[in-house]
Amino acid sequence: MSVVEVTGLRRIYETSTGVLRRRHRTIEAVHDVSFSVERGELFGLLGPNGAGKTTTIKILITLLLPTAGTARVLGIDVAKDPRAVRQRVGYVFGGDRGLYERLSAWDNLRYFAELYGVEPERQRARIQELLEMVGLTGRERERVEGFSRGMRQRLHIARGLLHDPEVLFLDEPTIGIDPVGARALRGTIATLATAGKTIVLTTHYMFEADELCGQIAVIDKGAIVARGTPADLKSLVTEGNVVEIELYGAPERVAADARRLDGVQSATLEERGHVQVLVVQSATDVDITPAVLACLHGARLGRISSREPTLEDAYVALVSGTCPD
């Protein structure tokens, strides 16, 4: 039996605007999503913002009800027996929120230990153990309002593990953390996976999923567009060559025009700070650079570089719908 089994999951949100003339709208955040996670697996759910990752996680942790389909965690239906699910899963989300600012780290953990049913006689030892694991020993009596984002995130992880859950859901845990803090956090997640925890991780950082996950599902516009091991996904784009062209003032249609050229497998225009980068993937035996340079619609040219495709290229190609078949 899989630890997490999701079958044909759908979630529709209904919104309304206006005062006198109410306009109702429905948004399908998750559409026919199916996947399973095995015991001890670190499963990555990847996708851009608004892809449906958080909605899927929130259904699995019983915060939302699905509109259709089923979701089971440890064989328990999340819609039918939410309390049984809650006792056996942990949930950690990224960002500043989710902690009591005016309480110390210790009191935050004490509070949630009580709510999550940790035996009173075990609470002190468990909190100390977790503080040590996330590297917050010595800071536990300080109020959370003075914590950096990285410290808060580590405290979140400790909170999510208080009741020693069998399954841990991590929703973009490294979002907004500096590279050093994010690396330390990834180390903690890897340690948990090594210890045998089943982990479902959502992220939009491809390298993070590549580093941590055994299985990945790429979700876009509420639907899963690809799944497999990181190697499987890489194999979608390992053939060929990638040319990156820095541009200034390029119109959106540049990417579409590049896609129409012979030998081009995919093309996307990305904003990277003040510069735009046209990323074009082509077959290895074709030099597409001159043809691409001829259709820049007067955009100012910066550096041009060539490299082999990466997992990130696979991800971008998948979510932009330009992945080669």
Binding site: G98, Y100, G117
Partner: protein, 263 residues
């Protein structure tokens, strides 16, 4: 964990949640001061108005009413605002997905609010004595203290019922603000219910503080507070029962309509 064991842990859970929420409220010196000062401003206005009568009984009536106003304000407005603040802080999601029943977590949060209200009540009585020279004679001290405690708990249970609504509706916190001033009239804190239109009476009778206020006044005057106290306690228990019964249904509705979190 067995059902019996879970039930056995409830008192400790209620105590810890109450204590930590009380600490959160107390840790902000400014916030804590406002909880005391704000009711004093209203009490002062009321006492200045009633002072023109020069009738000592009327002033005692107003002092007791003004003291109860502080608790009502803490319960009606602060309780619902605090739950909304938890929604903003992202902690409401964590409370909802905890294995502990939601009602068991919300109840001590409301009790923490009521405790703050008790402090404002004490401050108001002290203020009335020091600034206006009004001393409230208490003919039956035991009944008086009991009436106070039961009234505060009943108000906390009303706050608990309101907080269940806040979990379901994102804008229900406004309900608390709307109830604050009408509550002063409806519960007869400052004006006897007999002066209000007849159609208001049934509404007043459904509010536990109406009976609690009557019990406080009766016990201070040496009358019989027991009937009023019984109604106050009964209504408080009814609020708790309704809140407890509907909380899971409300939570399911919140899960269906995605109203627990902001994102």
């Amino acid at each position: 964990m067995s059902r019996l064991k879970r039930l056995g842990r409830m008192p400790r859970l209620v105590l810890v949640v109450w204590w930590l929420h009380l600490r959160m409220l107390a840790v902000s010196a400014f916030g804590g001061l406002m909880q005391i000062v704000w009711p004093l401003i209203f009490a002062t206005s009321a006492l200045l108005m009633f002072r023109v009568t020069a009738d000592e009984q009327v002033l005692i009536y107003a002092t007791l009413g003004a003291a109860a106003m502080g608790i009502w304000s803490a319960m009606a407005t602060t309780a619902s605002n605090m739950l909304q603040a938890q929604r903003w802080a992202g902690t409401l999601e964590l409370i909802v997905v905890a294995p502990t029943p939601l009602a068991v977590i919300l109840l001590p949060i409301a009790l923490a609010m009521a405790t703050v209200g008790m402090a404002s009540m004490g401050a108001t009585l002290l203020w009335a004595g020091l600034v206006f020279g009004i001393t409230v004679p208490v003919a039956s001290p035991v009944e008086f203290v009991l009436s106070l405690v039961v009234t505060v708990i009943a108000m906390a249970l009303l706050g608990f019922l309101l907080s269940v609504a806040v979990v379901r509706y994102r804008t229900a916190w406004a309900l608390g603000n709307v109830l604050e001033f009408p509550g002063w009239l409806l519960c007869g804190f400052l004006v006897p219910l007999t002066l209000l239109p007849g159609w208001v009476t049934p509404i007043s009778y459904l509010l536990a503080p109406t009976w609690g206020m009557a019990a406080i006044r009766e016990s201070a005057a040496g009358g019989d507070p027991w009937r009023a106290l019984l109604f106050c306690a009964g209504l408080g228990l009814a609020y708790a029962a309704i809140g407890g019964l509907i909380s899971e249904a409300v939570l399911n509705s919140a899960r269906r309509h995605a109203t627990v979190s902001l994102t």
